[in-house]
């Protein structure tokens, strides 16, 4: 792979390289990525589930040929899972092995060396040594506690981590940081203000169709169009709790193609509805015949 010079990338270049790895971005997304790289600021991406937020980080890492470091957030996530942790079992074994043959201070020096440090994603991103900075994906930040957000504030402003036993470790260059959120809770103002902000909504019809065609190259054209139209109709139905995202559109199109359908039919929708809608109450709201009639209209 040709090495990319981040300093000379333009917005159009970003559109091209993302497209080359199968991520069809609009200009707005490309500008956000461009600014995140050039201003060296974290990019907070919010939007409906399944709209390609996580995929953006993955595609960017792949397009740049750099490492993707992912931190999946969840309630209760703390510094030991995000930054670093000492490898306690190995330290215990080392203590036992060195007992008797070494002085206590030597044992202490040994067990608190980098060898026994478990580097978690944030520390790994800070210390990454590749030719290009890694892409650090902090996924679903809205699931983490507010205390963790405070910890992130510190890391994202200084890109350094202090380990009392070893000292301060500072990133020699800033990773490209992408945070995603499904807005299940509001991310704090402090973190928002430190980030660039991008809201990704469902793509327009043409872009969604292009994405389906790119992901499933041999899909019959009529099927691709009807799937995209049907999904757009389902999204607009009032009361659908879990609206289908792009990933569901792709999965549904793939399922229909694998089952040998060349166009949508009432039976095809009924049989494969569980691929696109994940809640029984949502499925009850779908009338395949009505959707078909709207598509064919």
């Amino acid at each position: 792979m040709v090495e990319i010079d981040l300093g000379s990338l333009s917005v159009d270049d970003i559109l091209k390289i993302l497209s080359s790895v199968g991520y069809i971005a609009d200009r707005r997304i490309a500008i956000a990525v461009y600014l995140a790289i050039r201003l060296e600021k974290p990019l907070l991406v919010e939007g409906e589930p399944g709209c390609g937020k996580t995929e953006l980080a993955k595609a960017l890492a792949k397009a740049l040929g750099t490492e993707l470091i992912r931190l999946q957030c969840y309630e209760g996530l703390d510094a030991s899972k995000a930054l670093y942790e000492w490898d306690y079992p190995r330290q215990l074994i080392a203590i036992r092995l060195l007992e008797g043959s070494s002085k206590p201070e030597d044992i202490e020096r040994e067990i608190y060396s980098e060898k026994y440090l478990l580097k978690r994603p944030l520390l790994r991103a800070a210390l990454s040594k590749g030719p290009l900075p890694p892409v650090l994906l902090i996924d679903e930040i809205d699931r983490a506690d507010e205390e963790f957000e405070a910890l992130l504030l510190e890391f994202l402003s200084e890109f350094q981590i202090t380990i009392p036993e070893l000292g301060t470790m500072r990133a020699s260059r800033k990773p490209i940081v992408i945070l995603t959120s499904n807005r299940t809770r509001e991310v704090g103002d402090g973190l928002r203000r430190r980030c660039l902000y991008l809201y990704i909504s469902y793509p327009d019809r043409d872009r969604e169709l292009e994405i389906v065609r790119r992901k499933i190259p041999d899909i019959p054209d009529r099927l691709a169009q009807e799937v995209v139209d049907a999904v757009r109709i389902m999204r607009s139905i009032d009361g659908i709790a879990k609206k289908p995202g792009i990933s569901e559109t792709i999965e549904w199109a793939r399922a229909l193609k694998e089952l040998g359908y060349r166009e949508l039919s009432s039976e095809a929708i009924r049989l494969t509805l569980s691929v696109i809608l994940k809640l029984p109450e949502d499925m009850e709201k779908i009338d395949p015949q009505e959707i078909l009639s709207k598509i064919k209209r």
Binding site: I31, L39, I95, D189, L196, Y197
Partner: protein, 363 residues
Amino acid sequence: MREINLENIVDFIRLLRYSGFRVGLSEDIDVGRAIIGIYRFSSSIKAINDLREVLRIILVKNPDQYEVFDKLFDRFWLYGDPLEERAERRVEVRIIREEGSLDPVSRFLSIYSPLEVRGRTPREISIDGRARHTIRRAIRMLRRRLSTEPGVRMRISSRGRLDFPLSYREALSTFGEVIRLRRSRRKISRSHFVFLIDVSGSMEDSWESIARLLKSIRGFPIGSYEVFLFSTGIIRATENIVEGEVAIKRILAESGVWGSGTRIGEALDRLIKEYRKFIGRTSVVIIVSDGWDLGDLDLLDRSLSALRGSVRRILWLSPYAGKKGFAPETACLRIAIKHVDSILPADILHNISILRRYLRSIR
């Protein structure tokens, strides 16, 4: 079309600030770096569209503000409106009864009519960061103090389950020798709040504080709260809270609950019968209402009694409570006081010191 240069950009940022956007100095600097140092623009339409995106990405941190931002952007950059700064005005309106106008009783009945009034929407209320922060902090304090459900974190407890990681971590202080096995169990740190908010005509004067409360609830984890709005009927508005202000106004207009009369008993009865699955044994119910009720008082008594038996705690927030001369003497509040844990001032969520006093008073 305005020329893209640093001066105009600074003016545009001032316009945003004036319009209520929170734009700090660091964002100013980022825009400057992006525009001048990195992204060189000509004054073409494409450049204007790119500029819109750049400014939006750096300056707007909430999609609910996109529409306002776009309007301001068009006004400033495309139509070249000058930057106007107007002093903020407050208008005080007093209603003076004139000869021939409704007498107070007729006026009372027109406001507290038990009929639904469809299509009306409440007025726009903005909330600044400080007020939002205060309400969110108050809710967090209440959630912590009134927590009823186990959370993720563990606490040492002799009646808990064996906690090996904790035991081994502690053993580090004794050179790896495990002296005692620790037990722990989940800390009771979560709570499920059910807000029942009266949006009838008599609560119109309290709309500002209700709107602020609704906007502040939005950031809490989905599933940790439920919101119902009631007057003559009751609607579940939890999903609309998540969607944002426009969705709240839409549901208020469509359902007809906004500005209608008050039938608290019937609303609570429907809550228990139709929305049972959204309330549980560990729920803390917060009713925000002035207690002016023209509904069936026996039904109110029965419904509150049933609700009392189904949830952990009921708090009643009244806009009049805590004010000089207040006593729960309306028929509704006299019934309520038998069933609820406390009748508190509605200000309690807007004023941390009142909340602290209350929290100190409970076990």
